[in-house]
């Protein structure tokens, strides 16, 4: 299991942020920064340079894909994992092409999310491939 220092959560729904922050807490107890929109997410990325970004695809205002592109423009090595409600293949492909490390579905269980995140962060011992969310 990979240990994280700082994680940025970008999702407009507070309950999803709460759940995801509990999930990432078990990855070495990182500081978790939560924001509810893409603009704030980009600003905080620039200031904080987190090890991992969890980014909602569907947000009012600036959407996930545009936010992803802006973050990758700041740091081409950023590890951004998209959070989707439905695994819409087109959106996922678009995100991977734009530089996302993988995706998780919001209805995925904690253990599955952990194994996907570990795989995205390059932990070879992780059991699941990054795109293996269902």
């Amino acid at each position: 299991m990979i240990s994280l220092k700082k994680v940025l959560l970008i999702d407009d729904e507070a309950h999803i942020r709460k759940f995801l922050s509990l999930v990432v807490r078990s990855m070495g107890g990182p500081a978790v920064i939560e924001v509810s929109n893409g603009d704030d997410g980009i600003d905080r990325y620039r200031e904080e340079r987190p090890d991992l970004v969890l980014l909602d695809v569907n947000m009012p205002g600036m959407d996930g894909i545009d936010t992803l592109k802006a973050i990758i423009a700041i740091d081409p090595n950023a590890t951004v994992v998209m959070v989707t409600s439905l695994a819409n293949r087109q959106t996922i492909e678009q995100a991977i092409e734009a530089g996302a490390a993988g995706y998780i579905r919001k209805d995925t269980t904690r253990d599955e999310i952990l194994s996907i995140l570990n795989a995205c962060l390059g932990d070879d011992s992780a059991s699941s491939a990054p795109t293996d969310a269902s």
Binding site: R89, K106, S134
Partner: protein
Amino acid sequence: MLVQFNQLPVSMRNLPSLDQRRILVVDDDRMNIRILQSILQKEGFVIASADSGESALKEYETFDPDLVLLDVVLPGIDGFETCRRLRATHGETTAPVIFITAKAESDDVVAGLTAGGIDYLPKPFRPKEALARIRIHLQNRLLLEQLAKANSDKNKFLGMAAHDLRNPLASIRGLAEFLADPDIGPLNAEQLDLVQTIQSASQSMLRLVNELLDISVIESGELQLTKAPTNIVRLVEKSVRLARIDASKKLTTIILAPGAGDTESINIDADKITQVTDNLISNAVKYSPLGAMIHVVVVFKNQTCRVCVRDEGPGIPENERSLLFKDYGRLSAKPTGGEKSTGLGLAICRKIVESHHGEICAQNLPDLGAEFSFTLPLEA
């Protein structure tokens, strides 16, 4: 049972107005056209006419009628053929066709209805009867349009509701899972039991919501397959591995027999077919008694690939067979370990398999249990 008018849904009480409905009259006898025209125009209908089958087909495209009055005997192609061609081009959306026949012989009537007509009017016309029939068919057509619209609204609403319910439900389940975690805070036995109940209730509700979402997508015709060459044996192996987790709780063994025939990669939507194999195998576990053996086989034969799942459950009662692959078609058989069933799973499986031009079926095994299988063409 007699349904009272005021108990009907509002949309059916307000019968749509027939004013300005468009009727195409096709007859090679100008006199007949004139008679019909005068009867119909008085009622507020808009009329166009044609004097042959060929010109009727042309006129249909520009005039876009709501109903067609079509003489059977015409120069060139006859009325029946004209009707068949209209239906071949426009399918179910073809405007209703009423044939005009000089002799209402039974054979003619049958031929007309077989060609896709909806009714016939005998010559010479009895104006009141002709009008009454025309009104009924126009009315029915409008109601059908309204029904189709209402059904598509229903699918949209179902999809939106299911979609919006998913995220909060996923959070409820996920947060309950954390609450039950001893690391977060020790709960006493009673509290833990309550939290675990929240967790399992939200889990089964999430499954239901996901299935409703699947149904709404499929029903609205928006099921999109993303096909790619897939090793189906590998896919089935994965489903079996996943199902073994739940199966072990019921001391059930799942045996994946080595497949017969050469393994070929087939062109399918892997996620969707996985959904089918997951469903069939988890059903087998669900309905088989504790300690059962479930057999899964993949067979390649005659340009098809067949995946079979044999269980040791109670089988399918003969009188419930027709319900099996229908929406909400719950059978009398109960899961043997208190698992949940929505009655949508097999209906979804059928629709996925059929969208791959495949077939899904079920049969009772001679001694014990049932076999569920689906067949996919290799050239899909």
